[in-house]
């Protein structure tokens, strides 16, 4: 299938200029890469606004953009729950309560924090799971990119795969984490600029927000929902049957707003690494808060056009259709691409496609730059070649290892991409399983930071137990209408959820609760081997409170946090 995109010289010029800058940034940073810390930690030198935009940009991968626009078609403004309740509170919590320990402990990664706070085996388990998960995620996103280029632009699958991998490898090899972060900032702006014309044009086409509400009413009513379901967020969450997500308000609140989002935003090293690269504790705390501001407005950029697409699909004169998959179902993930085609003439079309390509590559670069850090510090330095007394030699050696890990990471990603093209279902399954790793991890890190009694054995047991319960729950339950075992129910069909999302919420809730329970119980059964002195800087009650008095009031994290929470409350009320 070729969706019939014809790009002209102007579109290719935009693309080429963008990639010239991407590679140029890597090249310009090359001479600063003198040791492992510069390469893997960006020398802890980033201003808060750069780290903050990178923080949000890492998460704004193309799979997210495509998926969220598709969700806009399927669920309407309910999709904003992934942003307003499902991200902002967790980001504020990370900033205010967790960053001081991540940053202040001088840990270079999340697994290293686990080592400092708990013990070696907890770090090992987390490091290995994270390394495998990150590379798989990178491979899956490369695969999706190559498929997209093949279907939309008619480019060769293999060539797209190798070319995009080569560009990512080039700039992460040259400039390490700094290069990845700078390019994420560049990508953030190009996504906004590239997608903004679609938002404006699509809304204008249906007569603005008011016109959109009116055109939606008959379409939504015919699906059996209240006419304004697609343009409200909480109004119809009183019962699962009244909204297309099939989840009640408490499922959203606890599952998405607490377990899933805190698990993702507060423990995922890919994300936390951006904040750790900041130049000071205040900057590190401000990173997620600065990121939170664009984050809460992203729904207007990617979800609203999806809602307009639903109207277009149901208005015969518009000539808007989504491509169908083998089963004859529309591929919702392609909504954003079909909108690009619908509204953009040559010129801005190149910009829009560049924005998508950019988000794919920066997602990949983010994965690779997190992988090489965890590999070098938490696996190689811990188990293969520990640091010696000679710092100069070590610095050089670990820089070399970091660079090799970058090459290795990209190569394995390519292999994973080919695996995904052969066994798409297995990759989906693995990704589902790994998404379960975060919820137990949050329970363990949370207890570690706020309860000094938590022990190493307990943390390890808690992580394992949480993971096993997640697996078990996934094996025993399935979403209604599931046709593959990847979706669950591979042990037996004990319980059916109305939709997949409800299943994943509850998987996370069970995993997180189990992990908390096991960690607490085992902590009481074992003795705390770490002294209070060793735990200073790692646990809340043993760490001196941060004093922000030297910082002007408008730069304080608490001020920013209040601004962020006020804004998100206003948005929630406006779109209730």
């Amino acid at each position: 299938m070729n969706s019939g995109f014809i790009l002209s010289w102007i579109d290719y010029s935009v693309m080429i200029i963008y990639f010239a800058f991407v590679l140029g940034i890597g090249w310009a940073l090359k001479r600063y890469m003198k040791d492992a810390s510069a390469f893997l930690e960006a020398g802890r030198s980033m201003p808060a606004w750069v780290a903050g935009l990178a923080f949000i940009s890492t998460n704004l991968g193309a799979l997210e953009v495509m998926g969220m626009t598709g969700s806009g078609v399927k669920y309407g403004m309910l999709t904003t729950h992934f942003y307003w309740v499902g991200a902002i509170p967790a980001m504020v919590f990370l900033a205010m309560f967790m960053m001081p320990f991540y940053y202040g402990s001088k840990a270079r990664s999340v697994p290293e924090y686990l080592k400092l706070r708990f013990d070696e085996k907890t770090r090992g388990l987390n490091a290995i799971l994270f390394a495998v998960m990150t590379i798989l995620a990178s491979g899956i996103s490369m695969y999706a990119l190559a498929i997209l280029m093949e279907k939309v632009l008619g480019w060769n699958f293999h060539l797209s795969l190798i070319l995009s991998a080569a560009i990512v490898l080039a700039y992460t090899y040259l400039g390490g984490l700094s290069s990845a972060i700078y390019n994420e900032v560049l990508q953030f702006f190009i996504i906004v600029v590239g997608l903004l014309p679609i938002v404006i044009l699509s809304l204008k086409d249906v007569g603005g927000w008011h016109g959109l509400q009116q055109s939606l009413a008959p379409i939504v009513s015919s699906k059996g929902f209240a006419p304004d379901t697609w343009t409200t967020t909480w109004k119809y969450t009183g019962s699962a049957a009244a909204n297309p997500m099939g989840v009640e308000w408490y499922g959203i609140f606890v599952g998405l707003g607490f377990v899933l989002s805190f698990g993702y935003w507060c423990t995922n090293f890919l994300i936390v690494q951006r904040a750790m690269s900041a130049h000071s504790t205040t900057a590190a705390r401000n990173t997620p808060l600065i990121g939170a501001i664009p984050k809460m407005f992203i729904p207007f950029l990617i979800i609203v056009p999806g809602i307009v697409a639903l109207v277009l699909m149901n208005t015969p004169g518009k000539g808007f259709t989504l491509p169908l998959n083998a089963a004859g179902q529309p591929i919702y993930d392609y909504t954003i691409i079909m909108l690009l085609k619908q509204y953009l003439p040559a010129g801005v079309l190149g910009l829009g496609i560049t924005a998508l390509l950019a988000s794919f590559m920066s997602g990949m670069a983010g994965n690779v730059s997190a992988f090489n850090t965890v590999w070098t510090y938490d696996i190689y330095q811990s188990y293969i070649r520990p640091a010696t007394n000679n710092k100069a030699i070590d610095d050089k050696h670990y820089l070399f290892v970091g660079r090799m890990a970058t090459i290795f990471g990209v190569l394995v990603s390519i292999a994973a991409a080919y695996l995904a093209s052969l066994f798409g279902n297995i990759m989906d399954f693995l990704q589902t399983i790994f998404s379960m790793v975060n919820a137990p991890l949050f329970a363990v890190i949370f207890l570690g930071m706020f309860w000094k009694r938590g022990t190493g054995h307990a943390a390890f047991a808690g992580l394992l137990a949480g993971l096993l319960v997640a697996l078990l729950h996934h094996g025993l339950t399935f979403p209604a209408g599931a046709d593959t075992l990847v979706k669950g129910g591979w042990i037996t069909h004990l319980h059916a959820y109305p939709v997949e999302m409800a299943q994943s919420f509850w998987t996370a809730i069970f995993a997180c609760s189990t992990s908390t329970l096991v960690t607490v119980v085992v902590s009481f059964l074992t003795t705390q081997k770490k002294s209070d002195q060793e735990l200073t800087g790692l646990v809340y009650s043993l760490t001196p409170k941060l004093n922000e008095e030297a910082v002007p009031w408008y730069k304080r994290s608490s001020t920013l946090a209040i601004v962020v929470l006020t804004l998100v409350t206003i948005l929630t009320i406006l779109f209730w």
Binding site: I10, S13, V14, I17, Y18, F21, G24, I25, A28, L29, R31, Y32, A38, A42, G43, S45, M46, V50, S178, Y182, V185, L186, F189, V193, L196, P197, L201, K204, D205, Q342, Y343, L344, P345, A346, G347, V348, L351
Partner: protein
């Protein structure tokens, strides 16, 4: 680290902005090209927007360089 990110961002958006502005200006009477975008010359408007943003970034980078002479 090392470079001020405002410079590459500013340069890139200035160049892309110029490119699209000029392209939009040349194609301003090409009605067929802009039927998809509801008759709006999006190249011209996007181009101008990017140009302003790019120049603003460059201005900010010059300002922060003056503040911290090194």
């Amino acid at each position: 680290m090392g470079i001020d990110i405002k410079i590459p961002i500013g340069l890139m958006f200035t160049i892309l902005g110029l490119l699209l502005t000029v392209y939009g200006f040349i194609t301003r009477s090409d009605a067929a090209l802009y039927t998809v975008s509801l008759g709006i010359n999006v190249n011209l408007w996007s181009g101008l927007g990017m140009l302003v943003f790019g120049l603003l970034m460059l201005a900010l980078s010059i300002k922060s360089k003056k503040q911290k002479p090194q």
